[in-house]
Amino acid sequence: MKRFVHRMGPLGMVAVGILLLVVLGALSAPLIAPYDPTIGSVTQRYLGPSAAHLLGTDQAGRDIFSRLLWGARSSLIGPLIVVCVTAALGTLIALTSVWWGGAVDSLLSRLLDLLFAFPNLLLAMLAIAVFGPGLLTAAFALAIAYIPYTARVIRSTALRERNLPYVRSPELQGITGPTIAVRHLLPNVAPLIVTGATINFGFAMIELAALSFLGLGVQPPQADWGLMVANGQQSLLKGYPAESILAGLCIVLTVASLGYVGDKLGGRAAAGRKA
C-alpha cells in the first residue's frame, strides 16, 4: 500500500480518489440518487441548481445529479465488459500462438492483421448495423476491435518467456501445454494484462460514449454520460449548458485519471497502443 502511494505521487492519489468516487457513485446510485433518472416533469424543465435539485434539471425536467449517478453505471459497465473480454480473448490468442508457434502462430497473426485493418469505431458500427443498437453489442464489438492491441503485446512478451528454462523444463517433463501456459506463462504476463486493461478502459469509455452520442449505444431514456452530452446539445445551444458540460466533465475526469494511473503503472506501451 505504501509502495503504491509512493509510486502514484500526490497527483496520482488525486486521480485514484476521483476513480474511487466514480465507482462509489455508480455502486450506490440506487441508494443516494434523490430522483428517478428516467422520469421528469414538464413543469420542472431547465431549473438551476437548488437544494431540491443539486445540479438543476434537464430539458425533460429530470434531475441532472441523479442522471449523472445512474449514468456512471452504464459508463463504467460498458468499458468493463470491453476490457474483460479483450483481456481474456487477447491472452488466449497470444498464449495459443506462442505455445504452438509455426502455422498456428502465423494463422492467428494474419487474423489479428485483418482486425487491425478496421478502425475500432467502424467495426463497432458494423456490428451495430447487424445486431441493432445497444450497449452490449457496442461493448462486444469494441472488445473484438481491441484484441489485436492486447494480443500483440502479450505475444511478444510471452515469446521471450517461451524459451526460458522455467517453461522448457516442465515441457521436457511431459507436462501439457495448457497447464504450463496457465501455471507458468500466465503469471508472468499478468502485470502486462492488468496495465493494458487500465489503459484500454479509458479508450473504451471514450469510444462507447461516442457511440452513445451517435445514438447507437445506450438508448434513451436510460442515463449515460455520452448520451447526456448528446441530449444536452440542444439545451446547450439554447443557453442551458449544465447537462452537456457536467456529463462531459465526468468523462474527461474519469478518463484523465485512468490515463494518469495507467501511465504510472506501466505506460501506454503495455496496451499495445503507440500513443
Binding site: F118, L122, V130, I206, G232, V252, K274
Partner: protein
C-alpha cells in the same frame, strides 16, 4: 519490392474484409424485403417480385460475386431507403470528409509537433502548461470538444457557423475550422507529449551535448540534431493518429451535422441500409489501409534501416 508486397497485402486485406462485411450483412437478422415494404401487409407475389428486383434469391456466393464485380466497376448498388445510387451518395459526401480529415491532419502536425518542440526545448512554465494540457486534452472525447468549441466560438462569440459544411473553398475552410480543431485536439495532445519526450531524449544525447560544446549555433543544433532525430518516433505516432482520424470523423461530423461520410454511415446504420453500410465500410477500410501504407513508406524514407530490414 517492399512497396509492391505491401500493396498486394492491402488488396488481400480488402478482398477478405469485403467478403466478411458482405457475409455479416447477409447473415443479419431480419430480411431486406420486409424492410423494403416497411411493415405494410403485401401479397406473397409482391414480396417475390421485390426479391427478384433486388436479386435476393441468388445464392450467397453469386450475390457476393455480383456485388464485388459491381464495386470494381464503380457500381456500389442502390440505397435501400431512397433508391439512390450508393456511388453517387459516396461521391457527394466524400469531399467534406476528406477536407475535414486533411485539415485535422495539418492541425495535428502543426499543433502537436510545434507545441511538443517548444515544451521540449524550454523548461519551466511553458513546459508545464503543455504537459498538463496534453494530459487533459487526451481525455477530452472529440464530441465533447466539438460541443465546447461550438458553444464558445459559434454561439457565444459568433465567430464561426454552428452547422453545415459550406460552399466553395474559403467558406468550406471557415465552416470546417471548428470541427477539424475538435477532431485534432486529442491526437495533437498525444503527439505534443511524444514530441516533447523525444526532443528531451535527444537533448541529453552525446551528439547534441557535443555539438553545443563545440559551439555550433543553437539554431543549427535544434534543426539538425534535435528536431530531425526526434522525428523518427514522432512520425509513427502522427501516422497512427492520422489514420485514426477516419473513425473519429464520424463523431465530429455528427456533432456539427456536416454532410460527410460519417453522418451518412450513422443514418445508414440506424435505418439498416446495408448497401450503404457495406460501401462505406469498404471505402473506409481502403482509406485506412492506404494511409497506414503511406505512413510506413514515409517512415522507411526517413529511416533507411526500416525498408532494408523488410526486404532482407
Amino acid at each position: 519490392m517492399y512497396v509492391l508486397r505491401r500493396l498486394l497485402a492491402l488488396v488481400g486485406v480488402l478482398l477478405v474484409s469485403s467478403f466478411l462485411v458482405f457475409a455479416a450483412m447477409y447473415a443479419a437478422p431480419g430480411s431486406p424485403e420486409n424492410f423494403l415494404v416497411q411493415g405494410r401487409t403485401v401479397t406473397p407475389e409482391v414480396l417475390a417480385a421485390i426479391r427478384r428486383q433486388y436479386s435476393l434469391d441468388d445464392p450467397f456466393l453469386v450475390r457476393f460475386w455480383n456485388w464485388l464485380t459491381g464495386v470494381l466497376h464503380g457500381d456500389f448498388g442502390q440505397s435501400l431507403t431512397n433508391r439512390q445510387e450508393v456511388g453517387d451518395l459516396l461521391a457527394n459526401r466524400l469531399p467534406t470528409t476528406l477536407a475535414l480529415v486533411a485539415m485535422a491532419a495539418v492541425l495535428i502536425v502543426v499543433l502537436g509537433v510545434g507545441l511538443g518542440i517548444v515544451a521540449g526545448v524550454r523548461d519551466g512554465v511553458v513546459d508545464k502548461i503543455v504537459v498538463l494540457g496534453s494530459t487533459v486534452g487526451f481525455a477530452v472525447p472529440t464530441f465533447f470538444a466539438a460541443l465546447l468549441l461550438m458553444s464558445v466560438f459559434s454561439v457565444w462569440l459568433g465567430w464561426f457557423p454552428v452547422f453545415g459544411s459550406g460552399e466553395g473553398f474559403a467558406d468550406r475552410l471557415w465552416h470546417l475550422t471548428l470541427p477539424a480543431l475538435a477532431l485534432a485536439l486529442p491526437s495533437a495532445a498525444v503527439v505534443a507529449r511524444i514530441t516533447r519526450t523525444a526532443i528531451r531524449d535527444e537533448r541529453d544525447s552525446e551528439h547534441a551535448v557535443m555539438a553545443i560544446a563545440r559551439g555550433v549555433p543553437s539554431r543549427i543544433v535544434m534543426r539538425r540534431h534535435l528536431v530531425r532525430n526526434s522525428m523518427l518516433p514522432v512520425s509513427t505516432v502522427v501516422g497512427v493518429h492520422i489514420a485514426g482520424l477516419i473513425a473519429g470523423s464520424f463523431v465530429v461530423e455528427y456533432a456539427f451535422t456536416l454532410d460527410g461520410l460519417g453522418t451518412l454511415l450513422v443514418t445508414a446504420v440506424q435505418t439498416k441500409d446495408f448497401a450503404v453500410v457495406q460501401a462505406i465500410a469498404i471505402v473506409l477500410v481502403a482509406g485506412f489501409g492506404i494511409i497506414n501504407l503511406l505512413v510506413d513508406l514515409l517512415y522507411a524514407a526517413i529511416d533507411p534501416r526500416v525498408g532494408s530490414r523488410h526486404t532482407a
